[in-house]
Symmetry: C2
Subunit: 626 residues, 2 copies
């Protein structure tokens, strides 16, 4: 090629490699200019670099592998890889499309805001939402009750903007909703898993069909960035489809149990009655919709209390359930404060179970209130907080750690129960890693969540921000602030809090979860991993846990030392996908069962065993078929 | 044959039937003496009689069916049925032996006390037990602590006989047991389902190997008849084998979850830590062993508190667990009173879950105590009482009803949570049925449970008897005693209570479960079934429910109207078999999951999801295998 085009060749190679090829070129063309690269770097960079090269070169499909294999003809080695790809224009038959990748249910749709068309759809939807006056309040039997005591709902990024109004459910509303729900539940339960699954699938479709509007609402009411909004809607749709699949599988009809001749023995799962679903503001759509979907899938009716901060998106979800074909009596919205509406719900004698996601203290209050009720002991499914750690060793790849730490600690402004709170870095790698984190934090864009360029939005309200400010003050006093992100101009219109990285000595420093964008870094001595980890374990939480390492035994040891319902290796520790990473913790972090897992629905249901002595009718026909 | 042997033929037939055969005989032999039977009876006997005849004659294998089928040759009709059976001396290849009938696990062994050999084995074992001085007390790390505060354990049939002594566990004993259990649990959990299943299977074998001794102990300490004792030991062995099977199935290793390329996602079940198992005196071996087996199977260690009345059999079971190969640190016995040992157990910070079988009130106390604990919300699995009804209609077969009612109400002296408390009989059939029940009750032998002839033994203690006497007094005052069984001479040595049948107007009469051999009968108007049943449902229990009817729709309607975890059609409502009738109720009757069912172990376990980004190691090898 060079001689044809009259250009000069320059031969580039790594120092110590490619010498045979150089010799061959020299023989063919005479002296060739050579540029030799010598990789330079610290010891901590060497191992991941070498591993990467070994993996690349060792792969069956690698050029080097083919080159050195004498059985591979030169024409195959020199073949044009682009034409090789072009020869197979279609998808590999065994690689499903994203929509079908889960086999047992449809995957949810997304958005790509790097595409102008998707940004444009968002802008239109946002404008539409901004032009509306939104109203939430008790929705009972499908009817929104106009309240006299309506309170404004504001935008956490700009509290001067009132998005709409909400009125609180009264005791009479709750009584009416429980009555209607209890009556409607009987037919819903009898409908069986297949019939209920169809409604839930229609809900998933409705969520996707309304994605742009829901993303806009999530940004305005909950301060979600666009990508967080999309992820949340996808999660809501995934919950609906996953629980529909479980409903069909486990509630599709009786399971025959093996018994003696002359008897038919069956086990049937059925709904318990009316569930109270109490959900948080940090996933005002996904957890709200998911709790309801689980309770409905198992054959229950639901009274749903959204968080005080996010009633508008909840009302929107309830309306979508109705559009999807749900009998309105099966789902009531009862917005309000925990101490009024929440307290009334959990002490109501007509409630047959409670699903709750929120703080550990609130869970304990609810549990005590449920225990104080006369009558039956009802299920309490609580998903609560975490004090989530990530352990890094010196074999891990720095760039990957940094990406995953920033995402885990600051994604959704750190307002995920799964978010990273404590990063453990080995002394040897600490300084370099902390430098990298500083740089990465500086590159994060903090600001208006409706802007596609924003990485980190506001925290939810003034209380949250005040709590974070107080914690920051403490860190400034007796710990060490490593870095804080920049806030944009005008940040004081709302609840922006500058994402912060601080160094603390051990997990003992934190008595409890600090919910927001503050990452704590602890240096540790690898030979004292056990002592270090046991201090984290002693805090009593057990939600998420991260490990970054190329050594499997290290990951296994960390997972043994620190209790956690969800362990993530060499990746971020947030963003659990329904059915893929069933989510939920142990200890102070929750009761189980995990949400979005194969055992999710059992606690929402009761089991009935039916034993029929068919020999009383004359004998067992199965004997005739032997 | 008649002419050969010079005897006279008499032709017997039912009036209206067999005339063609008579004609043929007349043609062949001349006049033949005929005796014609005319069935005589009330209208209520007619339907079941006709149904029985139709079923018999309509069966493919029936003589009448073959006789009337012209395609069947006379030689086949007249073939000797005995030689037909003798031609197939072996078992039908598709009918498994009783031991293998459950396919997925071994069925337990029994005894047949109609056989002299089995009675003899029992007598020898009883003599041996009577010759021993039995001791129970705290067993921690495998060591029985000799107590200074030992209390006598007496025979409920003869309280002058002291069987042995028991000393109560102290707070220090419980602390020591929790510490040892927590340490041992880690390795046990890691052992996995297969390793743990092997120990449980060895326990099942050990129970069977010690059956005669255990039957004797159950009679002496818990007043069980021999057959009740055998049933209890079988249930204990079945629990061990069934949970071993579940442990292998669900705890055998991680479940792979479908996820994106480049990630391995797994779900693993593991033990929660240390369980407190609190069991009742009415199944001092089966429930005691079964709770422990469930907790162990799921990977937990156990502190077991037996009922105050039955510590000796519990100590025996614990020793058998050790003999079966269980690390003694994994199972401690902590005998004592509920208000001392039980209260300490459930408030102990080292306890990670509680399994309880007993009264509804005690369950509520425990639930409140658990809710008051600081820290994690731990699982509470409660199996409690019932107010169990059986509904009979006029299509049911009287003899079968009577058998099943007597067994359900008076088996184990009515001291089963599943026992029948309320029999609903339709007005039309009531008098005849009550007459039949009177006769059947009179035929029951009440007395020494160690005697193979005894049907009904004593109640457990003086408190139980006093409660029954008080209820009887109330029934004598404002209801109607239908019948009482005879007590043998010398009944006042112990806690015999004469089994009683009383008529009451409606379920409202009973505020709560009356635990013992008193059956209440209610007459009902079939057109008012719904109202009648709703009064029973309103009591809030939901354990067992019986229906006797030949009409499927009637059984379905009753099952819809009365909540119950276990529904039994045309059979007794007691004696749930592990894996065949998974046992447990709803409402006031328990929290679920059912014992001996496919979901039994989930609540004893926690779920861990592990997500490993294997593309960080260079890619997903699964792609190469497409």
């Amino acid at each position: 090629m060079a001689s044809e085009r009259s250009v000069k060749i320059e031969f580039q190679r790594l120092h110590g490699m490619g010498e045979a090829l150089y010799d061959a070129a020299h023989d063919a063309f005479g002296p060739v200019t050579v540029r030799a690269y010598a990789p330079v770097g610290g010891h901590e960079d060497l191992l991941p670099y070498l591993v990467r090269r070994l993996l690349e070169n060792g792969a069956n499909s690698s050029f080097v592998h083919a080159l050195l294999d004498e059985r591979v003809p030169a024409s195959a080695v020199a073949a044009d890889p682009i034409s090789a790809v072009e020869a197979h224009p279609d998808r590999h038959a065994k690689i499903p499309t994203p929509k079908d990748m889960y086999m047992d249910r449809q995957n949810s749709l997304g958005r790509d805001y790097s595409q102008a068309a998707d940004r444009e759809r968002h802008a239109v939807a946002l404008q539409k939402v901004d032009s509306e006056t939104l109203t939430a309040g008790p929705i009972i039997g499908g009817k929104l009750k106009a309240g006299t005591n309506a309170q404004p709902v504001t935008n956490p990024f700009d509290t001067t903007r009132v998005l709409g109004h909400v009125s609180e459910a009264t005791e009479a509303d709750i009584d009416a909703a429980v009555d209607a729900a209890a009556r409607a539940q009987i037919a819903w339960d009898r409908k069986g898993g297949a019939g209920r699954g169809a409604v839930l699938r229609a809900m998933a479709d409705a969520l996707e069909a309304n994605m742009d509007r829901l993303v806009a609402l999530l940004s305005r009411e909950a301060g979600k960035t666009l990508n967080d909004g999309v992820a949340e809607i996808r999660e809501a749709a995934d919950f609906c489809r996953y629980y529909a699949m479980l409903a069909e599988r486990d509630f599709g009809g009786p399971t025959e149990l093996k018994g003696p001749v002359g008897e038919i023995n069956q086990l049937v799962l059925h709904g318990r009655g009316v569930f109270a679903c109490i959900s948080p503001w940090n996933f005002p759509l996904a957890i709200f919709t998911g709790q309801i979907a689980a309770a409905l899938a198992a054959g229950n009716a639901v009274l749903a209390k959204p968080a005080e901060q996010t009633p508008l998106i909840a009302a929107e979800a309830v309306r979508l359930y109705y559009k999807a074909g749900l009998d309105p009596d099966l789902l009531a919205l009862v917005p309000g404060r925990g101490e009024t509406v929440g307290a009334k719900l959990v002490s109501h004698p007509g409630i047959d179970g409670v699903a709750f996601t929120g703080g550990t203290d609130t869970a304990n209050l609810i549990n005590r209130s449920l225990a104080a009720r006369p009558g039956a002991i009802i299920p309490f499914i609580a998903e609560t907080g975490g004090l989530n750690g990530m352990f890094v060793d010196t074999t891990a790849l720095k760039e990957q750690i940094i990406d995953d730490v920033i995402l885990s600690a600051f994604g959704s402004s750190g307002q995920r129960c799964s978010a990273l709170r404590l990063l453990y870095v080995p002394h040897d790698a600490a300084d370099a890693l902390i430098e990298g984190l500083k740089g990465a934090l500086a590159a994060q864009v903090v600001g208006d969540p409706t802007d596609p360029a924003t990485d980190i939005g506001p925290v939810i309200d003034a209380d949250a921000r005040a709590m974070l400010e107080a914690h920051l003050k403490r860190l400034e006093g007796d710990a060490k602030i490593i870095a804080r992100a920049e806030l944009p101009a005008g940040a004081d219109k709302g609840h922006l809090f500058a994402p912060t990285i601080a160094e603390i000595p051990t997990a003992d420093y934190l008595e409890r979860e600090v919910f927001g964008p503050i990452l704590h870094v602890c240096r540790y001595e690898p030979s004292k991993l056990k002592e270090t980890a046991s201090k984290l374990a002693a805090r009593g939480y057990g939600l998420t846990l991260g490990v970054h390492s190329r050594i499997e035994a290290f990951a296994e040891e960390v997972a043994r030392l620190v209790p956690a319902g969800n362990v993530y290796i060499n990746r971020s520790i947030i963003g659990a996908v329904v059915g893929v990473q069933p989510f939920g913790g142990e200890g102070l972090s929750g009761t189980g069962p995990k949400a979005g897992g194969p055992y999710s629905l059992i606690r929402y249901a009761a089991e009935k065993a039916i034993s029929n002595n068919i020999s009383a009718q004359g004998g067992d026909p199965a004997l005739l078929n032997l």
